[in-house]
Amino acid sequence: MSKRSIVPFGPQHPVLPEPIHLDLVLEDEKVVEAIPSIGFVHRGLEKLVEKRNFHDYMYVIERICGICSFMHGMGYAEGIERIMDVEIPDRAKYLRTIWCEMSRLHSHLLWLGLLADAFGFESLFMHCWRMRETILDMFEASTGGRVIFSVNKIGGVLKDMDSSMLRTFVDMFDKMEEEVRQLTNVFLKDYTVANRLKGVGILTKEDAILNGAVGPMMRAAGIESDTRKLGYAAYGDIDFDIITGKECDSFARCEVRIGEIFQSFNIIRQAVAKIPEGPISVDVKGNPNGEAFVRLEQPRGEAVFYFRGDGTQFLNRARVRTPTFANIPSLVKILEGCDFADVPILVLTIDPCVSCTER
């Protein structure tokens, strides 16, 4: 048995600006154990719920994450609507669905760019992010914000997209889909990418369940599970298949995310075709009294929201279990036995969002 050494990894990273720290126990070049540490960016946003009016807390919960900020706001709105038994108008449901899928698109394009950057494919990284920029522009045109959208409200949404705007978006997505396909072909076909990803970081189906993996991490292990199938927002009216992988390795995770990009284009097109006319919000009176769980499929996987109110304008508890929080144990699992040089890529394949994780 060779000598063991411990290498601290992070929170300042070679690859990604995510403050996660790993203590890697190495045996020669192989990682035998990894101990994760987080806690560098804990902001206590969950605690703030006791100090903010439940309507205003929307603006706080959106700031949990800069990428799925829309979905955090939506999860909160769905949770409070569930407690207060508010049924939102159909148009608001479709608008939420469209913005959700746009969030997923830009999140996955961001991740593809970061992955390309991680294995040293600089120009591919730039092309991915150029594409993502277009989606941010669409967000700005429709909601007014590029990162934090502030467009959700308890009882619906605050801004409407008229039919001409929706049509422009669909045209842009049609054009973009062609370009994205050329780009993703590089990921799927190029031998340099395959050499870095195939057979690396295998998370078997059993391990995925045991370690509570969620989202593309879990689907790449061949588990067919997608919270969107629960039919929240307008997903119940939309036809889509769950994308799964077979190989359980990093390449499968990349494949699943690429598949989801095209799936998102498809969902947006369906939603735009089906969106009904009507109001976009209903008035909400009173204060929430009760508790509710909400599950949403964020780009990184299943997020669990839990809210409890006691009939005052301040909630008792708001709990957000973000997907990265659930994926860290799986990360530790796939790091065991990998090469030291693969650690950055493996950290990336869970698509970590540590500021989400710590809230």
Binding site: F40, E46, A213, V214, G231, P329
Partner: protein, 112 residues
């Protein structure tokens, strides 16, 4: 459409037993969280079994000590560390105990 999940009450000594039976059925631990109540805590264990979302509520008193389920579901270590650090809930036998060093926080047990 809203998801129909189940929410059942569980006795504190049933936590590990329930976790065992769910693991044998192939469930995944989705999350654990706690809520401060008057004189104690509500712990909420959520499992996903296929399409089902199963939740168990365990009410404990302030100074009760519960058993960790990290031996059954290894991913519980983050949730349990978070609970003991932010709420001050006493949990024994956590596989990887950060000893209140998970988060870098100024106040001790801020949610208590």
């Amino acid at each position: 459409m809203r998801e129909n999940y189940e929410l059942k009450i569980l006795a504190p000594d049933q936590i590990t037993i329930k976790a065992h039976s769910l693991r044998n059925k192939g469930a995944r631990l989705s999350q654990i969280c706690s809520v401060r109540t008057k004189g104690g805590y509500d712990l909420l264990y959520s499992y996903v079994l296929g399409d089902l979302f199963k939740n168990y509520k365990v009410s404990i008193t302030e100074d009760a000590e519960i058993e960790s389920i990290t031996a059954i579901f290894p991913n519980a270590f983050l949730y349990e560390n978070e609970m003991s650090e932010l709420f001050g809930i006493k949990i024994k036998y956590i596989a990887l105990d950060y000893k209140n060093k998970l988060y870098d926080i100024a106040a001790k047990t801020p949610f208590k």
